[in-house]
Structure formats: structure tokens, C-alpha cells
């Protein structure tokens, strides 16, 4: 805490939800590099999958029932809520509801408790809340309403989550709430339903439709959360790379051919593939493969954020990483969390900390 810039800001105590997920882990890593962040507490049901220096990991159940005790005990001032499921293929509808809706509800209940020290909340949502319909504008702004009511379970749960965020922001005007809506994330590491489609031998598309997709690189996702954290961004922000790319061009960029599914009965046709675990195109993506979705990213830019990747550069980064993995395999050995080892490094008197 020696530099002039950090001295002007008070030290921050941060709670990160979903530490065991891709995002939670990467956010915690990024926060550890910030000397201004004094304490990082990470919650999850599963152990962290990335190596962390000083983040304290607490195992909790999926719906955070002990959260208010943790918030009270650690006196955190910032909550970064990354533990929202946006990939419906990875779990049942029931557990998705537990994590997204009940988890968020308990999180905000804890944050708005009378003695709460929380002054900043950052929530990682997805542009899927805008839905996907033929009546949509080409670019959704943060205040553009959905064209049709949400039907897919994932969209409905995200909508419920955002409802809690709105209520919380309204009831707690002294808390700065930033809601970041991320477009289709792609990059060198992350796995999403879209990256799985692009990894198939032929890329599924819907006959006669060539929707345009927007992507955001995983590094820009982390940087934007950091940006929101450092500048206490208020309100709702779309986070998405510049430009929309036709799905056929995305496939071509990945060196794949497209395989056209019939425009009617798409879900009927894909269900046998899903049941043998080949290609899962979740309900929330069916409309996307017909109409695509674009979001206006200018609000975040107006606040001074600069993207490192455009949509097509993000796709390029993804396919380069895939090619590299095909050649050399997974480069980094998988990290395994060992409780005793981590406790030793953090708390043992034998470890020399605060080296000059």
C-alpha cells in the first residue's frame, strides 16, 4: 500500500461468490494482484480449480444459507457475485434454480442485513435476459425491454435474479450496485454451449438462417469486472465486443463447415443427439441460432472502458487456443486444491509473509 494511487483509496474487503467456477477463480486471481484489496473471501460448493495466493476459501451449500454470518464476521465492503449459472447444459433445472435464484436471494438478504458493511455489489449476469425474438432490435440497449416474455428456464431464472438486484438497489440507495450483462463469452479456456458447438466436426446451424453473433473475450470479462470494481460503476452495463459476425463466418473462421438443421422441429431433431451426449443445443440457444442477438456496448465505453478484443478477434483467440490444444494437449497440469496445504501457507507462523 505504498503507491500514491492506492493510498487515496481505502483498503477493500471483497467477497467473491462461485470461487470454484471459472469466473470466480479468475476474478480472485485478478484481485490478489491488487495491493489495495486487503481481504478476499471466496465462497463455493466446490473447491477452487485455480491456484490462489491469499484468497480464503469457504465451503458453503448451493443456496448460501450461512451467508449472513460470513458477511457479518468478515465485514466485507464489496460482493462480487459471479456464481450464476448461464450454461443450462451443465446441471438440472432444479439446481440451477437453487444456485441462481435462491442463492442470489440469500446473498442480498445477507447484504441488506441491518449491520451490513456492504457498500458495493457487482453482479455478473448475461445478455440472455434480453431473450431472442424476430421483433428484437439489432442492438439491445441496457434499458430495452424484452420483446417476448421469457420461457426458457435459464432466462426466467436470470430474470428473477435481476429482479432481486433491482429491488436490492432500490432498497439500499447507499450501496453501489453494478449489473454487468455479458454477451457470448469465448476465449482460450472457457467452455460454453457455443464453444462446444464450434468444437463439433460440423457446426450445427438452422437452414436458411445466418444469425449474427456477438462475442466477448474472457479477458475482457475479467477486465470489465475489475473496471467496475475499481471505479464503483453504477447501474446496468452490457459487456460485449464490437461487431456482429454471421454464424457461418464464425464456423468458417474455425475452419468448420455448417450442418443445417431444419427450421421447424429443431429441438425434436437435436434431442437424440442430446441424449447420447453429442451436441446439446439448449432451449435458450434455439432462437439465437435463428435470430442472433446484438447488444449496444457503448455505455461501458462512455465510462472509459476499452475492449482488448472485438467479436471476431475473440473468436480468433478461441480457435488459436483450440489448435494449440490439439497439438500439445492441455498445457497446464490441472490444479488440485489441498485444504491442509492451503491452510498452511495462509496461516502457519512458519511461513514468512510481508517480505520486503
Amino acid at each position: 500500500m505504498s503507491s500514491a494511487t492506492t493510498a487515496s483509496r481505502p483498503a477493500r474487503r471483497v467477497l467473491v461468490t462461485g470461487l470454484g467456477t471459472f469466473w470466480g477463480g479468475r476474478i480472485a486471481q485478478a484481485l490478489e494482484a491488487d495491493p489495495n484489496v486487503e481481504v478476499i473471501v471466496g465462497l463455493d460448493t466446490t473447491e477452487p480449480t485455480v491456484e490462489l495466493e491469499r484468497t480464503e476459501y469457504v465451503r458453503v451449500d448451493a443456496n448460501y444459507s450461512i451467508l449472513s454470518r460470513i458477511v457479518h464476521a468478515t465485514q466485507v465492503d464489496t460482493i462480487i457475485h459471479t456464481f450464476l449459472v448461464v450454461d443450462p447444459t451443465q446441471m438440472s433445472r432444479r439446481s440451477m434454480h437453487e444456485i441462481n435464484v435462491i442463492g442470489t436471494m440469500n446473498l442480498f438478504a445477507a447484504a441488506s442485513a441491518p449491520a451490513s458493511t456492504v457498500r458495493n455489489v457487482i453482479v455478473k449476469s448475461a445478455t440472455m435476459v434480453y431473450g431472442c425474438a424476430p421483433e428484437d432490435p439489432v442492438w439491445f440497449r441496457e434499458d430495452t425491454p424484452r420483446s417476448r416474455p421469457a420461457r426458457a428456464p435459464l432466462e426466467r431464472s436470470l430474470e428473477a435474479v435481476e429482479g432481486y438486484v433491482r429491488d436490492f438497489a432500490e432498497d439500499n440507495p447507499h450501496v453501489n450496485v453494478a449489473l454487468l450483462r455479458f454477451s457470448n463469452v469465448i476465449g482460450s479456456q472457457i467452455q460454453t454451449p457455443l464453444t462446444r458447438l464450434l468444437n463439433l466436426p460440423v457446426v450445427p446451424s438452422v437452414f436458411g438462417f445466418d444469425p449474427r453473433f456477438q462475442f466477448v473475450h474472457e479477458d475482457d470479462v475479467i477486465r470489465s469486472i475489475q473496471f467496475a470494481f475499481e471505479h464503483d460503476l453504477p447501474g446496468v452495463f452490457n459487456v460485449a465486443g464490437d461487431g456482429l459476425i454471421p454464424w457461418s463466418e464464425v464456423a468458417k473462421q474455425c475452419g468448420k463447415r455448417t450442418f443445417a438443421l431444419p427450421p421447424v422441429g429443431t429441438s425434436l431433431l437435436t434431442s437424440p443427439f442430446r441424449s447420447i451426449g453429442l451436441a446439446d443445443v439448449p432451449e435458450a440457444y434455439h432462437g439465437l441460432l435463428k435470430y442472433g442477438r446484438g447488444v449496444d456496448n457503448r455505455r461501458l465505453k462512455d465510462f472509459g472502458f476499452r475492449y482488448d478484443y472485438t467479436s471476431s478477434q475473440a473468436v480468433a483467440a478461441f480457435i488459436e487456443a483450440v489448435r494449440l490444444r490439439h497439438t500439445i494437449g492441455d498445457s497446464e497440469p490441472a490444479y488440485r486444491y489441498e485444504r491442509d496445504v492451503e491452510q498452511f501457507f495462509r496461516h502457519s507462523p512458519a511461513v514468512v509473509r510481508d517480505r520486503p
Binding site: 424476430p134 439489432v138 438462417f209 464503483d232
Partner: protein, 288 residues
Amino acid sequence: MLAPGADQPDSYLPVRKEYDDPDQLATDRMSDVNEWGRSEHMRELARRLYDPVYRNWFRVEWEGLEKIPTDGGALLVANHAAAIPSDAPVIMHGIETELNRPCYGLADNFFRTLPVLGTLWNRLGGLPAHPDNAYRLLHDQGQLVLVFPEGVKGPAKTYDERYQLRRFGRGGFVEIAMRAGVPVIPIAVVGAEESMPTLLRIPSIAKAFGLPYMPLTANMLVAGPLGAVLYFPAKFKLKVLDPVHFDVPPGQERYSRSRIMDESELIRDRIQVALYEMLRRRRSVWFG
């Protein structure tokens, strides 16, 4: 906390001194499909294929083309006709070839739901008629946008109602032009009505297939199934009327409803009067 647009503390939205370029592409793109889905390559190909139709079949004649600005945004508004509207391609082709600047066409969302055709329509500069799309094109990017305020009511009308303008929607086009601070340029089109006249509508078939309307056209009677796509060689005459500038501050959330309806009615009236005027002078449907 950061303020957006630090050099302009008073205004929330930064004032854009120059227009954004919708065709701005990253260098690593593999196609030229721009941010609206329009592809200049596809347009170029379409222009080459369509030019003989434009010149030799419809023998299009423009009047007052110089009233359309060569720079900056403007909302073009025209009367709409023919079972499969022939006026949109004629206007867009005419402007792109004569003025050498792109023209985006706003149309019903229905186009977007059509396989193949919907994609093609989008690549050729067609967009769903959403106010946000129009605003971004007109205000932020200074483009020419064509819209038919009658909507599907225009092409759905039968031959005995030809050149009788339908209601101009709810005046949404006026509101968008006001908000974007661009002029509305009315265009009167003669010829489209006779290129594919609807004799009668068959609502039951339209309903069964989810179509906005199902016409039985004269072209179908004359040319059989081919008539579904074959236009009669009606002579096209287009007249660009004086641009309408609105004396209101741009960028407002809402404008007076009565003012919008008045302006919309006025523009509709001017197109209607111009149509009657052109029809009075027209000697032949086929030779003008």
C-alpha cells in the same frame, strides 16, 4: 465514481461530432457483412442482376432526386404497393446507383422469420422496423433509411383501392425523425400498384400459413405459378417531394402526440396529392 463523457459534465450522452461507420470492420473479418447484416458484395451482385429489371422492365424515372441529401441521415417515406412489394427494391436500387450511397430498408419482422429469404433480405440492406434500429442508423450513423409507414396494409390492398393511401401507422416514423433530428423525405411512387395487382385476398390461407395476407394476383391468372414472382412491366415514376424538417429539439424521450399525428397526416396528404397529380398526367400504365 466516474462520470460518462468527462469533458461534458452536463449531458449524459456524449455529443457525437462525427458519424459512426456501420461498415467499420476489423481487419481479421472473413466477410463484409456489416453490423446491420448488410453486405456490400451481395448488394453489388444484386445491383448487377437487378439493373436490367430497373432499366428495361420498369423503366424507372425519378424526379427531384437532388432533394435527397448526399450526406447525413434522412428518413425516406413512400407509399407501398404490389402484392410482393416492387417499390422497395426500385427505391433502394435507384438511390444506391444514382446517389452512390447505401440505403437501408425497414420492413416488417415477418421477413426475418423466413428461411433463406429473410437472410437474403438482411444481406441486401433490409432490417426489422424497430425504432432503435432507425435511430441508430439515422442519428449515430447518418444513413439513409427507407420506411413505408402504411406497413403491410399498403401491399395488402386490392386493385380497386390502388393509390389510396392507408393510415400511416401511429406516426412512429415522425417521432423517430424528430428524435434523431433528421428530415423526412416523402417519395410518391407510381407504377408499383400495377406491377402486381391483388384481385382478392384469401384470409383462410393466410391464417393457415401464418402470412400477413394471401393475395390472388392478376399475375397469377396471366402467368400461372410463374405469376407469383413475375411482375407486369408497369412504367415506374418516382417523385421526391420537399424534405420536411421538424422544428423540435432532437433527443427527447417523448414528443407531443398531437404534433406527431399532425405531421404524419400532413406528410401522408402531400404524398396523396402528389400521387393524384402524377396519375392525372399519366397517359398509359405501361408507357407513362
